[in-house]
């Protein structure tokens, strides 16, 4: 369950900022400077020195990534979606516990295997005063599924709509969506799409729309200073939001400001100085030092991203299942989660996080047994085999802990840290043998992660794993509407993967945020979205 923020009641926010440095503060500052030389990261240091609060009836959010566009069709970034979702609504939305509920759609029905009918809510206004209709829904989805539909460019979000082939406005408030093959997770995947006003986009053009958007969401666009901030203000004529996510009505906050602050130490400093009220992506080693500060809190919830150690099944030594099994017996992820990730992670026995549909409770991680690992390696003739464990700098500590465990169990492991832009093509070309990486599954449907990672030849299949049975089960599960049948097939896939071990599974990290305790009614979400509709400040 997400940790709810705002339970602490400390309300001396009206105190004026202290304008002179006291002797004690000077000494603690000096101690902080000395500590800079010894602490593991600058982020930890920054986290150790702050206090103070935010201001006004607005709220400021420190984002971990830059915002490159405000056009909901032209990005593939979770951070961008977290921002634009406050300007735009979708046909459907997710509650904080990830249930799919109607938003702009009043209801929907499956007409046949390849046809869906959505009834659109009436009396919904865009920020420019125009009414939202089925034509806007068709226009919005057409921009995504039609090649080169956005100013001559194609939407990078097309893949998220799978086999959607045609959208037809069959009435003022009725839309029919057709798919080229059965697509049972259409409502889940529609949570990633937002509805834009067709007339406005046609009038101003796609490029201007991306800079100055108009939506129907709880906040309207005010200002975007590129690389600096995006400012939104309350839309008083908001239709109220999802009935499934009460309370309804306009937003509480007068203003929301999003500031991209990619450097983690600066992001934490922004929180502690009161410039930001919520910050994304707090490293687990900085949690304690934020919590120590008055009026500062840390909020965490299970994430949807699976970290795993991929084992390349196409090249030695991991083309031998005994070596892959040995690697699984060689590691004990629990102490790593506790010590390296500060307990902000969970060990999982497969690629799915426990919150995902059809998660297999019957599977368990391989028993931690070094002698068994060595024995398997000996039988495979690979005892003390030398391998490189590839990773990115963000997971370096995790990889080093894993390498230490593997090295005690008959592997000779060296960690190699890469930038993802360099590592990705090597993994895609199946040129690396062991790698610690991760894959997101924001829809919480297995399709979203099992297909790209383990179906033959898919774009995220860096292990080179190939199984006709798994391929067939995934195709079948993805085109079957019956949830029980889907669950059964996905469980079979999990069992096969567990037995054939193309990877060491796995770690589900939590989403960690730093929050000023003046923020009320906000809790983190597994999908990383930042809906500000119900949030208020004390």
């Amino acid at each position: 369950m997400p940790k709810r923020v705002g339970s602490k009641c400390e309300s001396d926010h009206s105190l004026p900022p202290q304008s002179r440095i006291s002797r004690r503060e000077f000494l603690s500052g000096a101690a902080g400077l000395a500590a800079l030389l010894t602490l593991p990261s600058a982020a930890s240091l920054v986290a150790g020195c702050g206090r103070r609060v935010g201001s006004g009836s607005g709220i400021t959010i420190g984002l971990d990534r830059p915002i490159t566009t405000l056009d909901p069709a032209m990005h593939r970034s979770r951070t961008v979606q977290a921002v634009v979702r406050n300007i735009f609504d979708g046909l459907v939305a997710r509650t904080n516990d990830m249930k799919v509920v109607p938003e702009l759609a009043e209801s929907w029905e499956v007409v046949d295997d390849n046809t869906w009918r959505f009834i659109i809510r009436s009396r919904v206004k865009f920020h420019d005063g125009s009414s939202l209709s089925a034509e806007d829904v068709k226009f919005s989805l057409d921009r995504i599924i039609t090649p080169a539909a956005v100013g001559g460019q194609s939407s990078p979000r097309k893949g998220l709509l799978g086999p959607v082939s045609e959208v037809e406005a069959t009435g003022e408030h009725e839309v029919v969506i057709r798919t080229s093959e059965p697509f049972p997770i259409l409502p889940d995947m529609l949570t990633f799409q937002e509805i834009v006003p067709a007339a406005y986009v046609r009038e101003v053009g796609d490029q201007e729309f991306a800079r100055s958007p108009v939506g129907s969401g709880p906040f309207r666009f005010v200002e975007w200073r590129q690389g600096e901030r995006i400012v939104l203000e309350r839309f008083p004529d908001y239709f109220g939001g999802c009935p499934g996510i009460p309370p309804l009505g306009p937003a509480h906050l007068a203003r929301v400001t999003f500031k991209p602050i990619p450097e983690v130490a600066t992001r934490i400093a922004s929180l502690l100085s009161g410039e930001a009220d919520i910050i994304q992506e707090v490293p687990s080693h900085s949690v304690r030092s934020i919590e120590k500060q008055a009026r500062m809190d840390v909020a965490a919830c299970p994430g949807t991203r699976t970290h795993y150690i991929g084992l390349n099944c196409t090249i030695p030594p991991f083309n031998d299942i005994r070596v892959r099994l040995a690697a699984n017996h060689a590691v004990d992820l629990r102490p790593i989660c506790d010590r390296v990730l500060g307990g902000y992670a969970k060990v999982i026995p497969g690629p799915l996080v426990p919150e995902a549909f059809s998660y297999h409770e019957g599977l368990a991680n391989y028993e931690f047994d070094r002698s068994k690992a060595k024995s398997l390696l000996r039988r495979a003739g690979q005892l003390n085999v030398r391998v490189e464990l590839d990773t990115e700098s963000s997971d370096k500590e995790l990889a080093e802990a894993l390498a230490a465990q593997l090295s005690k169990a008959g592997f000779d492991v060296r960690v190699r840290v890469w930038k993802w832009d360099l590592l990705q093509p090597l993994l895609a070309g199946l040129k690396r043998c062991m790698f610690l990486t991760h894959w997101g599954n924001a829809s919480l449907d297995p399709t979203d992660i099992l297909v790209p990672l383990f179906r033959t030849g898919e774009r995220g299949n860096f292990t080179g794993y190939s199984s006709k049975k798994v391929d067939a089960l995934l195709i079948s599960a993805n085109t079957t509407f019956d949830p029980d049948a889907r669950r059964d097939r996905f469980r079979q896939v999990q069992e096969i993967l567990h037995a054939e071990v193309p990877a060491i599974f796995g770690i589900a990290k939590q989403e960690i945020y730093g929050v000023n305790s003046r923020v009320r009614n906000w809790s983190p979400r597994p999908d990383g979205m930042l809906p500000m509709h119900d949030v208020s400040v004390s």
């Binding site: 702050g50 593939r76 200002e223 901030r229 922004s270 832009d421 360099l422 990705q424 979203d448 774009r459």
Partner: protein, 337 residues
Amino acid sequence: MRLSFVSYRLVQLLPVLFGVALLVFLMMHITPGDPVELMLGQAGHATEEEIQALRHEYGLDRPLHVQFVSFMGNAMRGDFGTSFVHKQPVSAVIAARLPATVELTAFALLLAVAIALPLGIISAVRQYSFVDKAGTLGALVGISMPGFWLGIVLIIIFAVKLHWLPVSGRVEYGVGLDHVTGFYILDSILTRNGAAFWSALRHLALPAITLCAAMCAVSMRMVRSSMLEVIRQDYILYARAKGLPESVVVLKHALKNAMLPTITILAVQTGLLLSGNMIIETVFSWPGVGRLAVGAIEARNYPLIQAIVLLYALVYTGLNFGADVLYFVLNPRVRTR
């Protein structure tokens, strides 16, 4: 004579710019990395057809030489293509960020000169005095401290602890700054907006101080050593013997000659500020071209990288050209050659 010197130097710029463009183009394409895969990220599904369609749209499926010729041809007409990530013309993306970088660099440069020049002169005139020793120590510290470290320390002291200065950004929301040139200090002066001027100045302070630290140290040492060399010359002794006031001797006769090597160093250092910007802009979330470049490289955003590097090369070579011209103007010996 002068015109031929200037035109000769200008013509020399062209092969340099072409070479830089070619080198960057080759290096970016030789280094592994797929812009489409990086854009799609480590999540979700995308079919091979969709990926190939995007590659085709970005022109990545064309032979390298065709891509380069097309880029250069369009670049010469001022069209640098469309940013893969921003989905906007590259020139518009850079134009939105350039004023922030220019403002920061100019402010850091002014600050560095304002500190380095008087300190360097005093250190030379009063060699081994307290000011000289303190200046030498300060220069050593300034050169030794990495920008990202100094930036974080300044943030902790002045933003987190003292709350005197902001952590990031260029201007507060709500000060009503109208966009005229994109240079916030200048805009606030032009629109006579005192609140915006103060806010922009406060936001500029920490990144500018961090950026100028190393440049200030190098320039100060250069002014000092040049001045020391000059004030021992016979013509300075002669000026003193004529009974000229010491201020005239130092500022008119000595400084003018000591400035020649300093100008070269300043030009080179200003170019280096651009690379320093990448780090400082990241630390302070300064919305400039440096931070844009870092993001572009990570995303293999080829059109944006090429345009930014070309811009940097143009600025760098332009600065050197400017220094050469200034050298030519100030130094009669070069002029008469």
